[in-house]
């Protein structure tokens, strides 16, 4: 039964991923006084990309062709091992936060190698930038999650979510709140959003994430776009569920609980996507050479979260 719930949790995220991206784009368009494309457009984009011809340069090796599959595999694995709609369904080792961090890094390494393999200038530049940012984001990532682990008493994300859901909101979440703020910083950086990267840029010189996708077309582009949508949905769903641990699907499960859990996840994702669009519309993108300020601030906020968690433990 818990196995079934864990599978269900991953499948819901996989299904909702393009919808989340569509919702973020719609909300951003509304902030800019545009009407915006319909929410379901990303599904259609992915389908039409799947039907298009794939152009592969003859100067590339097998890495170029294989990279989208590795990236997508990492994103799908994240969807299954990171708890979003359900809590208490995974064994502790499966959602260990170092495993989660490792799998996320695995995806970004293959993305960078795919970007470098076609030997285009921009792909190399994007890959170099992506790896620089990945090195910067890791301290904040692990420090923020360690603060949560201290609060929850376990290294498993599933266990942390279960712990927060078992307490009343006012007893659990405030102790973790500063760490959650740090995780918002990390989410923005991991998913190449403002102020780290501009997801809608058309100027190659400013690209980070998009620069690595420049050489891809057709089905492999669809795979990469879908992978980044899944990663965004996973991170948003995780942060939203950790800060609002209500209506989670938990083991003694009923039909009503199941429906409520799915609806609650959709509501949380919509809220998180709205907040993301708000951040993207009010912040400016930072210069690449000032990125270390952003990440050290994220790291320091995460350290402050660890401090708060320690203090609330001793009281």
């Amino acid at each position: 039964m818990t196995f079934f719930l864990a599978i269900l949790d991953g499948l819901i995220v996989l299904l909702l991923a393009p919808l989340t991206v569509g919702f973020v784009r719609l909300a951003k368009a509304r902030f800019q006084n545009r009407r915006g494309a319909p929410v379901y457009l990303p599904y259609l984009t992915l389908l039409s990309l799947m039907r298009k011809e794939m152009t592969v340069t003859k100067h590339s090796s097998w890495v170029f062709a294989a990279a989208p599959f590795f990236v997508l595999a990492s994103a799908i694995a994240l969807a299954f091992i990171v708890p979003t709609a359900a809590a208490g369904v995974l064994p502790d080792f499966a959602s260990n936060l170092f495993l989660v961090g490792g799998i996320a890094a695995f995806g970004s390494v293959f993305l960078a190698m795919g970007g470098m393999d076609a030997a285009s200038t921009f792909g190399n530049m994007g890959a170099s930038r992506e790896m620089t940012l990945a090195a910067f984001v890791e301290p904040a990532f692990y420090m923020g999650f360690s603060a949560l682990a201290l609060v929850g008493g376990t290294w498993s994300l599933d266990g942390i979510l279960r712990h927060l859901a078992s307490l009343p909101w006012s007893a659990g979440v405030p102790a973790a709140s500063i760490a959650l703020v740090a995780l918002v910083f990390v989410t923005l950086a991991e998913n190449a959003r403002y102020p780290v990267d501009n997801p809608a840029t058309h100027l190659e010189l400013t690209m980070v994430h998009e620069a690595m996708l420049l050489e891809y077309s057709g089905p492999s582009l669809a795979l990469l776009e879908y992978a980044s949508a899944v990663k965004l949905t996973v991170m948003l769903g995780l942060v939203a569920s950790l800060s609002l641990p209500f209506f989670l699907i938990q083991p003694p499960v009923t039909a009503l609980g199941l429906v409520l859990g799915v609806l609650a996840l959709i509501a949380k994702l919509a809220l998180a996507a709205f907040v993301l669009a708000f951040i993207e519309s009010t912040f400016v993108k930072m210069r690449f050479y000032r990125m270390q300020e952003y990440f050290s601030l994220a790291f320091i906020v995460a350290l402050a979260g660890l401090l708060l968690a320690l203090i609330s433990m001793t009281r």
Binding site: P174, L297, L307, L308
Partner: protein, 213 residues
């Protein structure tokens, strides 16, 4: 949401705002953070007024909201714009170092309060001490009058929290005179900013040491 949880969240938000202020190097974003912090302080005072049924606290809360969240920041930004002062702020050390130092100071404040006050109003006292120390850090590390002034006001916010949480608010007259003192101080700072900008084309306090004729 019980009043205790709400007040603890407001205090926590003030602390985060103060910590973020350390690394802000642009005038508008520094002032905005200060505004947010003061608004939280006003709500905190309103909450205490509601919890204790004290009408004079509500008056003070509204005054804090009016003066610190609207009048002073607006005044400061307007003076900066009118005198043509630069939007960029300057500090003796880099913003990252500053926020790290801020974090250490907060840890120190919490540890000290932990030793001195074992129970009761522990969190409010710790936040108040942190705010005072963070404000002081801002005051000594910034080169320009805006950063120093905001640092001073941040210290003042910490002292207000201390007064509100631990003594249930000073008498109305004392609080009022403290607030109007602040207002006068800011009029003086504004005058000084205008003068310094006119004389040196900069609001850095370093330049005040040199003699001009």
């Amino acid at each position: 949401m019980t009043p205790t949880v709400l007040s603890a969240s407001l205090l926590g938000a003030m602390l985060v705002a103060s910590l973020l202020m350390e690394s802000r190097m642009r005038l508008t974003s520094l002032v905005t953070l200060f505004r947010v912090q003061s608004a939280f302080l006003g709500f905190y005072a309103l909450l205490l007024a509601y919890a204790e049924g004290a009408i004079h606290l509500a008056v003070i809360a509204l005054l804090i909201l009016a003066l610190k969240a609207f009048v002073i920041p607006e005044f400061l930004l307007r003076v900066a714009r009118a005198s043509g002062a630069s939007e960029r702020l300057e500090a003796y050390v880099r913003p990252t170092t500053l926020s790290f130092a801020g974090l250490l100071v907060v840890g120190l404040a919490f540890a000290a309060t932990n030793l001195l006050l074992p129970d009761g109003h522990y969190f409010a006292a710790a936040v108040s001490l942190s705010l005072v120390m963070l404000g002081f850090l801002l005051l000594v590390s910034r080169k320009d009058m805006f950063g120093q002034g905001i640092g001073f006001l941040g210290m003042e916010n910490g002292i207000f929290i201390f007064g509100l949480a631990l003594t249930g608010g000073m008498p109305l007259l004392v609080e009022l005179s403290a607030l109007f003192d602040l207002l006068i101080l800011f009029i003086l700072v504004a005058a000084l900013v205008r003068r310094a900008q006119h004389e040196h084309s900069s609001v850095g306090t370093d330049l005040l040491r040199t003699l001009t004729d």
